[in-house]
């Protein structure tokens, strides 16, 4: 089934076509989402929301870009929305603790262990994910798509609706910021060991 045929069948509400789409894209969507939200359950939630949005708005898709580009765009947007919601909930929780009776439990978020990273790199990857969390949104998206989904700068520029030069610049700044955050993190670790 080619892409145009798939889109047409999706527009006609063909369930088999939708199942085909989900089975073809679910790993890409889930992998991107887990890289951004850094939690498997949240990533599944995001992935479900992505396919529901695809199902609902396939009529609005003009096929000016590839279907995969459009799906990546929805995924990154949804994942960022999820992060924003989580942040606002966290802020609300903080307020509740401030004005509450102090009995609420404070949960520490554990370091994220990406399931796709080999065992010998797990410790380093956890440090890197912690640093990625601190990146500005556009740098986070560019870095995640490049590192986890192996997308080229050209593909990332299409997903983010920007130029290749802008993506290059984002990636450069992302690396600089990550180096800075990692240096601080290593510094703290060394001080902690002493």
């Amino acid at each position: 089934m080619n892409e145009l045929e798939l889109i047409q069948r999706l527009r006609n509400g063909d369930e088999a076509a939708f199942k085909f789409l989900v089975e073809n894209y679910q790993d890409r969507v889930f992998n991107t989402a887990i890289g951004i939200v850094q939690n498997a359950e949240d990533a599944e939630d995001v992935a479900q929301e992505v396919f529901i949005q695809v199902f609902r708005s396939i009529h609005a898709f003009k096929a000016e870009s590839k279907l995969s580009t459009w799906i990546y765009r929805i995924t990154t947007t949804r994942a960022l929305d999820h992060l924003r919601n989580r942040k606002s909930k966290k802020r609300f929780g903080l307020l509740q603790r401030l004005f509450g009776d102090g009995n609420e439990t404070l949960y520490e978020v554990p370091d994220f262990n990406h399931p796709g990273v080999t065992l010998d790199r797990k410790e380093n990857a956890a440090l890197l994910f912690k640093a990625i969390k601190q990146l500005p949104e556009n740098q986070k998206i560019a870095f995640t798509l490049h590192k986890l989904e192996d997308l080229s700068y050209q593909e990332i520029s299409e997903v983010m609706k920007t130029s290749v030069a802008a993506v290059e610049s984002m990636m450069h700044r992302a690396k600089q910021n990550l180096k800075k955050a990692l240096a601080e993190s290593l510094e703290k670790k060394t001080k902690g060991e002493k």
């Binding site: 989900v22 796709g116 790199r121």
Partner: protein, 111 residues
């Protein structure tokens, strides 16, 4: 940790995702997705269904018409004070010396 070691370590950390594998979606993803979609779509229909009921539309129409009529009738009415009311108001005003606006100034002694 020396500066050189630290730089090496940072580079090593930055490369830690280079050989990673794509994480597959959890098992039965499609089944769960389908269940959620059915739930959401049926909830959506249920939520909106009451709007489409003729009885609801009729009630809303009657309420709007009644409200319009009320506004028109109230707007056309002029304040109508009958004589009894006016007399009562005047007697109360006289009793409390409210008719004379200069009362306050009368109390101030003239120099």
């Amino acid at each position: 940790m020396s500066r050189m070691n630290k730089q090496d370590k940072i580079e090593q950390i930055l490369q830690s995702l280079d050989a990673n594998q794509r994480v597959p979606a959890p098992d039965f993803f499609y089944t769960r997705l389908k269940a959620r979609m059915e739930r959401e779509f049926s909830d959506g229909k249920k939520n909106k269904a009451w709007i489409l009921r003729p009885a609801y539309a009729l009630v809303v129409l009657i309420m709007v018409l009644a409200l319009n009529a009320l506004v028109i009738l109230k707007g056309s009415e002029t304040p109508d004070l009958n004589n009894n009311d006016t007399e009562t108001v005047q007697s109360i005003a006289a009793e409390y010396s409210l008719n004379d606006n200069n009362t306050l100034y009368d109390l101030i002694p003239e120099k």
